[in-house]
Symmetry: C2
Subunit: 594 residues, 2 copies
């Protein structure tokens, strides 16, 4: 089995060249976040990820979390890992200093989160949900709720969850039935929730559930949903724990992957109603939940990056060790010298690095939103974050499917044997296109709220930047960069065509637009990822000219971008064709002709 | 859970319009195989597949085969199913009448085999391996071996296996170490084999292992490998079973999927050597094994078709039942009315039907090889079978990955829950691109032995046919057919470019050719599948004009072909670009830059 090694060199390069690390560190509030400090944090995190989380990853998969009589026991070692994770301050790292977090730039915490996701996806979910809940409470909760709940959550003494789904209400939250009845300063919550990640466990003394439910006077549909905080144990005024609340975990799911993460079915109010506290305004629960969801969507996109990186490392280690046949490539004695194995490794590498670049670019924009001194810059960054959120979530997780599959393929027959470990990444990755909104839902968000609603303004602005960068690359006297520029220029035209078509048909033919929504999302991800990949090649070229001490890495960045251009950007024109010409056949059959 | 329903209408249509059923039935020896008989056989098989095999599929997955002290117990019900499978005559159906089989055309047995693969992939492997062993013995075995072993195997009283792989020798059989020492009229075999499908079980009284091993005077490499028959129990002259042979199953693998099929590690000769009989000439084992392998490769390609069909049916059933949100499509009340769900269903359907067409086309060519009266026609058909074998194996299984993944995606969160069943097809499908030669190995066979060695003659002949059919479609006064023709014409040009590039560089730049081998195989499958899809649209159009009694099905064939043209054929140009321009970046990094 390979050991996870955080790709620090690529992470730092990407943070700097794509994420805009230096400018972010110069923003007010981040003066103490020096490049040296960032590197030190990343090194510490890399050490923790490799030493603790990665070594528990297979235990989590094999043992899984175990349910017994309403209690859930995580896999061996998870409880101790959670303690050390919190003691070392990793849990609250991305959170605000106001509640005990470290208040680091999102760009920095994103790189650290990627490591958790690479080394132990199942474990990392507990942090993600907890921090999502923290954010929802911090933004929408009353002062009393904040005072009572945030500090223990940011310290990791209590964890958080997100109770949305009900059996009849998955993607369609309008169908929610859980109810909340007012009773003094609180509410009584009743209903059944499913798919609750880390909904029950014994790693901490309390669990803070955020629950969507309807008030008695609620209008139907999504406008009648409110958000409630229901702790597993009630909390006394002095912060000590009181009675057990009326909620229980009735079972956990038997899933394809992320076995280490318990997916709970929860019942609220079997004995009169769970005590819950309103978060935000009545009937505004969806807006509150979206605070959590947007955060979670970017995080799940990052899961696509993390699990892809880990699958790549696992396959690379095997390919550089396994001897089989006569490798065609000079200097290779292992299967990494077989051109087709090399092709898969390069595809994995090129895609993963572009996905990382997209996720870090978006994280950097979030830092600009949070702290750029200029209001117009903040607004532009906010629009970009909005546009890119579904692309990060949808494209990075969609791409992770093929990447983890290639990782398994490189192992040949051994890849199909569970003990090899490649299959776990393949299974774990498979949830990422589904939870926190399927790829279809991300794509509808992209073509609707993020494209059509604003007449394509933000995307068009981005296309102009890509176009100008492509032109600059084409004009370079460097044949490799110039070829990348050519490929990028063709691809950006394809994205422009696709966007124009979507914009032209959004009013009159919404089904046709929706039929091409996922191909359009893939097109956007492919082209924007290719742009960032090309920018990294350009930056590597400039660095090489200035100082060749890191030539191996920098030349590899150029070649990797070239690989992206020749193997992945070329897909753009087919995706454009599907967006533009694909709707008729997609929608023509009647149900009984399927 | 959905129940498997064999797609009889599409199978019969494809057999007739693509496989050339009528001409094959008119060949000498098949006079009794009337269309009515064929339909009756398919209906019987469909009934058996749905009633027995499909209902055991999940049991096989959940229980798996269990190893205890050298014995392997299949999942509950498998033993009884094997008995009824054999009693009903299904086991020997594709085999020659000489040994008790039914001697049906390969085209007919292919459709039946597809049903076994759809309904229970793990179970179907036992038949596949048994019939492969039968074929190798029938072609290469001595008269005595044939007399002793074939009849019980064709009757399913004994099963067969294929013992190739050793821990150090997977794709590279040259590295085999198992040994065979002559002793009178037999040999003593010793060595360790892994990944032996159905290598041990208690469903039958005997198991006939075909084993690759080296004679003492063997030259090194693949030219020193011989094939031996080693029965689990020795067979007396009167056909009764004698002593247990010196071979044992030491364990079975814990796999990602096909849990119902035991994958055995075997040890031969722990107590002096297993008694084995030479099959074929000394040192010619690889050629003998290839008889079995080519058969198995087409069968594994058919697994790609079968599991895709099953995943499609499962997803379709869910999509037509699950209510969630407001469907955009008029007339739909379920998620099948959401355009993106519809897109995934159509992609699955269009790809699966084209894959079926390719597999049946190849099966039809095998029947021409076996029985066409004209020698030149037989030779042409043989060349086509050779060319298409790696494409059927490589492309149908590669496509099955995305299809089964889409099937899971359509289920949303439920797809990730094992009880839903969609995940099993996804896991089961994952082996098909690996065993019987990985996609990389198929692709090397395609560009080397099947393309370069004959200067591209057979492929060029096929391209001429596709070109002419595309032209005819373009000239049709039917806009839908004409559009399909346009798309096919562009795609066939892309395949021609790719083939020309491969041919031009095969001598001087073999690594560059190998770097593009899998993209070239995908290109070939995509275009040839698109050709057959287009031919089906044309045939459906002609039938519609003559008789509209089956209009719903026939119109769906046209629309499905149109979907293939607009969503899948469009990938051809990107694949061509990868073949032609992709090698440099693929091969440029050194091992330590990966």
């Amino acid at each position: 089995m390979s050991v996870y090694t955080a790709p620090l060199r690529d992470m730092l390069f990407t943070m700097k060249e794509v994420g805009g690390l230096e400018a972010i560190c110069a923003q007010p509030g981040h003066e103490e976040t020096t490049p040296d400090l960032v590197e030190a944090i990343l090194q510490e995190a890399a050490h923790y990820a490799a030493g603790v989380l990665d070594s528990l990853n297979r235990t989590g998969d094999v043992q899984g979390a175990r349910w017994h009589d309403g209690e859930v026991t995580p896999a061996d070692g998870f409880r101790e890992a959670w303690s050390s994770f919190c003691e070392n301050g990793w849990i609250g790292m991305p959170a605000s200093t106001e509640w005990g977090g470290q208040g680091l730039p999102t760009l920095v915490s994103t790189a650290v989160l990627e490591m958790w996701k690479s080394s132990n996806l199942a474990f990392s979910l507990c942090q993600m949900l907890t921090l999502g809940a923290v954010e929802a409470i911090a933004h929408h909760g009353s002062e009393a709720l904040k005072q009572r709940f945030l500090e223990p959550m940011v310290a990791g003494r209590w964890t958080g969850t997100m109770n949305l789904t009900e059996p009849q209400a998955g993607s369609d939250l309008a169908a929610l039935r859980s109810r909340a009845v007012p009773e003094g300063d609180h509410y009584r919550i009743s209903g059944n929730k499913i798919f609750i990640t880390w909904g029950e466990h014994d790693m901490t003394e309390n669990i803070v559930h955020l629950v969507l439910a309807r008030l008695p006077d609620a209008p139907p549909g999504v406008k009648g949903i409110s958000l409630f905080l229901c702790p597993k144990f009630l909390v006394n005024d002095d912060g000590s724990l009181g009675e057990r609340n009326d909620l229980a975990c009735t079972s956990i799911e038997h899933k394809l992957g992320i076995h280490g993460s318990p997916t709970a079915s929860m019942t609220f109010g079997d004995n009169g109603g769970a005590i819950g506290y309103l978060v935000g305004e009545p009937h505004q629960g969806l807006a509150c939940m979206f605070t959590m969801m947007n955060h979670a969507r970017l995080n799940v996109g990052l899961e696509g990056v993390g699990v892809s990186e880990r699958a790549y490392q696992h396959a690379r280690a095997y390919a550089l060790e396994r001897v089989q046949g006569k490798p065609a490539l000079a200097g290779s004695s292992t299967i990494a010298g077989h051109p087709d194995v090399r092709r898969m490794l390069m595809d994995m590498k090129a895609r993963t690095e572009a996905m990382r670049a997209l996720a870090y670019f978006c994280a950097g924009q979030m830092d600009r939103v949070a702290g750029h001194p200029d209001a117009q810059e903040r607004a532009q960054a906010q629009a970009l974050v909005g546009l890119l959120t579904p692309v990060v979530k949808g494209w990075c997780t969609d791409s992770a499917q093929g990447i983890t599959s290639d990782g398994l393929q490189i192992h040949g027959g051994m890849g199909y044997i569970e003990e090899t470990g490649a299959a776990q990444y393949f299974r774990d990755a498979r949830i990422t296109t589904i939870y926190e909104g399927t790829t279809g839902i991300q794509a509808n968000d992209l073509i609707g709220r993020k494209l059509a609603r604003e007449g394509g303004r933000t995307l068009k602005g981005l296309l102009t930047r890509i176009d100008s960068d492509a032109r600059q690359l084409m004009d370079a006297r460097d044949p490799e960069l110039s070829s990348i520029g050519d490929a990028l220029m063709r691809a950006v035209r394809a994205l422009e065509d696709g966007a124009d078509w979507q914009l032209a048909h959004s009013d009159a033919q919404p089904q046709d637009c929706a039929a091409g929504a996922v191909p359009f999302l893939r097109l956007a991800g492919t082209v924007i990822g290719g742009w960032l990949s090309a920018r990294m090649a350009e930056a590597a070229t400039a660095q090489l000219a200035a100082d060749s001490s890191d030539a191996g890495f920098l030349r590899a960045k150029r070649i990797t971008a070239s690989h992206y251009a020749t193997h992945i950007l070329v897909e753009a024109s087919a995706l454009r064709d599907i967006v533009v010409h694909g709707a008729a056949s997609t929608l023509a059959l009647s149900d009984d002709q399927l």
